[in-house]
Every structure is written in C-alpha cells, then in structure tokens.
C-alpha cells in the first residue's frame, strides 16, 4: 500500500497539529528533519478539527493549516471537520 504524507513547518503552531495527527492516525510515522516535520501513513491519513481544538483550547479552522503546510501526497478530501488524504491502491 502506498504511503500518503503531509509535511509541516516546525513551529509552535504545528506542534498540536502534529500531536493531533498522531492521536488520530496511530499507524502514522513522524520524521523530524531540519525546519520541517514529515508524517507518513500507509493508505490513508485523517486530520481532525476536533482533536486539534481539544489540544489548542480554541476553535481551529482547518484551513489555517495552509499557512504551515509544506507538501502533501494523496487524494485530498476536505470538509469543515476533517482533511483526508488517500491513495486508492
């Protein structure tokens, strides 16, 4: 199964996002590189608004991620509540 991935800048605002991704995707693997964090997961990865909000203690608009996003891989499906990356193979 192919890996989907998401890469975010290393900064204070992405710390809870990364944490939330790891809670919701226990099969994912985090790689910390200079100035960036890359998270790989086989097949699918979901980023949930609710989990991030629980960690940051405020409302969080998933589109705020655009500010910190470096790259991603997979077919994207975004709603108000979640962003899902999927490879259909």
């Amino acid at each position: 199964m192919s890996n989907v991935f998401i890469a975010l800048q290393t900064n204070e605002e992405t710390r809870p996002i990364v944490e939330a991704i790891m809670i919701d995707n226990p099969h994912a693997v985090v790689k910390r590189e200079p100035a960036m964090i890359k998270i790989d997961a086989p097949g699918q990865m979901i980023v949930r608004k609710e989990t991030i909000e629980g960690l940051v203690g405020r409302t969080f608009d998933l589109q705020e991620m655009h500010i910190h996003l470096i790259t991603l891989s997979g077919n994207v499906d975004e709603t108000d509540d979640s962003l899902t990356l999927t490879w259909n193979n």
Partner: protein
Amino acid sequence: MDTQVTKKKLGLKERYKLLTRDLGWEPTHHTRDEIYPYVKYEGIKIHDWDKWEDPFRLTMDAYWKYQAEKERKFYAIIDAHAQNNGHLNLTDARYLTAIKIFLQAISPGEYAASKGFARMGREFGGVGTQVACQMQALDEIRHAQTQIHAISNYNKYYNGFHAFSDSRDRIWYTSVARSFFDDAMSAGPFEFMIAIGFSFEYVLTNLLFVPFMSGAAYNGDMATVTFGFSAQSDEARHMTLGLECIKFMLEQDPDNLPIVQRWIDKWFWRGMRVLSLVGAMMDYMLPKRVMSWKEAFDIYGVENGGALFNDLARYGITAPKGWDIAAGAIEHMSHQLFLGLYQWSFGTAFHGWIPSDDDMDWLSSKYPTTFDKYYRPRWEHIKKLEAEGTPFKNFGLAKLCQTCQLPTVFTEPGDPTLTCHREVDYKGEKYHFCSDGCKDIFENEPEKYIQSWLPMPALFSELGGDIGAWMDWVGLRNGIDNGDYVGSQDQVNFDKWRGMATSNK
C-alpha cells in the same frame, strides 16, 4: 416568547459552491466556443465542467486572509535576516552558488508560471478551474517577488546576483528552466496543466522546495528557507490542482487517455532534465547536507511518484515512458552535471570548485556502487591537474540538446562510461539531443522545437562569437562572477567579514 432560531451555518462545500457558482453564467451574446477558443484544439473532450472541483475549496476571502498571514510571517523573518548579519550566518559562501542558480533559473520560472496561469484562468471553460488558476497566478507572482526580495539581501554583499534577469534570458544553463516554461506556455491549456500542475508542481517542487529548503535551513540561510517554505505552503494546493486536472481529463472521456499519457511521458522527462540542476545543488553545493539527491529522489520521486501512478492506473495510465531510465540515471546525473559546470566555469555566473576529500567521502557513502568507481578518479585527476598548475578548464562551448537545452553530458542508459548522443535530420538541418527521451519529444513536435532559442548559436548569430561581448551581454563580469570559488571575492569577503562579525578587529 419568541423562540430564537439560529440559522444553520453553511458547510465548506456549500460555501464554496455559492462563492463560485455565479461566475458560471451561460453566455448569450457569443457561443462558448468563441469565448474559449483553445479548449478543444488539443483534442481533449470535456462534457461537464462542473465535475471539476477544487478539493481544498478555498474561497477568495479565505485565500486573501491566509496569504496575507503568510506575507506577514515572511517579511518578519526577512527583516530579521537583514538586521542580524544574515549574510554572514551561512556555513560557507560557496553555498550561495545554489542560490545564484535558483535566482537566475527558478525564480523567473515562477514569474512565467504566473503569466501562464493568468492565461489558463481565462481559457478554461469551468468555474472551479478558473478560480483555482487565478489563485495560482497570484501565488506564482508572489513567489517570484518574495524570492527576488529575499535574495536581494545577498546581492548587497556577494557577486553573481546582480543580473539575474539578463542571465535568465541569455546565459546558457538558465535556458534549461526557461525552455521548460516557454514550452509549457506555448502549449494549449490542458498540456500546460500537465506541464506545470503535474510535472513542475508534483514532481519538481517537492524535490526543489522540500529537501533543498531543509538543506538551506541546515546551512543557516534563513532568507531562503523562509521564501521556500512560504512558497511551498501554496504548492500543496497547486499539486492538488494538477492531480485533479489529470483525473478530470481522464474521467471526462476515454479518448483523452492517450493524449494525457503522451503529455505525462513528455513532461516527466522534461522535468527530470531540469532536476539535474537540483541534483547538482543538493549533492555538491550545500556545504552541510540533509540528504543526497538520490535519497531525496527515492522519497519524492520513486515512492511518491510511484504512489501517484499506481493510483492513476485505474484510468489506464502507466508510469511515464522514461521512468526506468530515469531511475537508473539517478546514481549519475548530479556528478555528470557538476563535472560539466566545473569545467565550463568561465561561462557561469557562479563559482565552481573541486569537492574536498570530506565531500568526496560523503558522496561515496551516499553512492557506494558508483561514486568511487566512476567519479572519484576523475576528481582526483582534476585535483592533480590543478596542483600542477594546469587546471582542467574547458573554453570550448558545450553542445546543447535541442529539447532540454542541457549540455549533452549525460551517459547511455546502462553504460555510465559512454556519452549519450542522438541526432535527427529535419528539413536539411541536423539537431542534437542528450537522450532518447528528448529526441522523442522533438520528433513528436519538430516544428515547435526547431524554433527554440538556443544560447550557443545565439553567441554567433547575435555577437559574432565574441566571448567578451557575450559576457557583457549576459551580465557576467569576468574574474568576479565566474571561475573558481577558491580565491574569489566571495570567498575572501565572507572569511574577512565573518572574522569581523565574530571579533572586535
């Protein structure tokens, strides 16, 4: 008492639909064919434009909000860089060679992409596509501007940055990237989307902006990391647009498949050739390296590209034609190109150098089966010639490939000791190519590529072969911008100024 009714807030999908829908009125004064004259001539059949939706569903208000925030972050860091001796915090000034190539070859490409997307936003018939292309046109001009602005801080102190727009138009190695964009911009709208949306965004930018920018961070270049990551934060959206475009074409009509496959084959190969510059940047120009070119390609080319092509297999798409040849060439391309750049350093607006023993040990650890066998002996020989006072310099002109415009320095598939060279006779002229991939591209559209502007013939047609006049014309100051890094003004100044910055002398 009246019951207060809270109106249900609209969801993301509904908001996006409402905020784009009204742009899509049915025209009555002119036919759709008159309004969108280029949509059909490539042979792509579209039945329902509404099936194209931007999966990020970014509306214009949200777009401006987040882009403004990116700009504020960017300028805060660029100011800090300028205020805090950012130009002296690098690992070494030779690192800036990579940034010179970036400014001369890549940033003008961002500007070309902006022009291209502005045109495509006008030429596509669907609302979702028009909005996404408009946003990307704005993104790309932002990238060109922020890159030029960030790098201008280095222009105050170092050579080779001052004439990037002349370099872009006239010097030889920049024409690799220039011809890539010219080729895309002079294609039809759907081919442009495969060229830029798929090849440049999906295949190229991941390799250029992700591991390379991480490398810039490692080398203390705060300015480049900042513009790189700021640009790349838009690229996730661009890549998604490119992927959506491919899926859209394939889903609309089965007749589109062979056309799309041919474009994928063509633009994958063109992208690989542009990437040879990035390979040389990663393996040779970063004094401190995050990963080798090969390791980066394994992650973002083989693994990620493989995942994409497996995903597209359900539509009948196969991996691009040159895929296996490219995979075999990964071990060699950065070494072969840097050897070329070193020997022709009289004609480059950046410096060349012989890799140090440490550099070579690192390269052999990253390329254990090839570097010591094929490339170390050449560098050792070049080092010996240098020590004997007869440096290995080539004052001849490189023979350029008619398609990708790189010098024909690459080797035959399967034999890294034999230079690959192909020729085609067309209408009484002989054309040269670096590979079967580039030859195939030419043969499919010869009337397009015989019109290519090539820098070496231009030296004769425009300047009568006068190298001095050519240097003036391309903005290259002989003995200052070009030649060896060792002993250059850049090296001398960096060492002197860094000494001044860290002591009270």
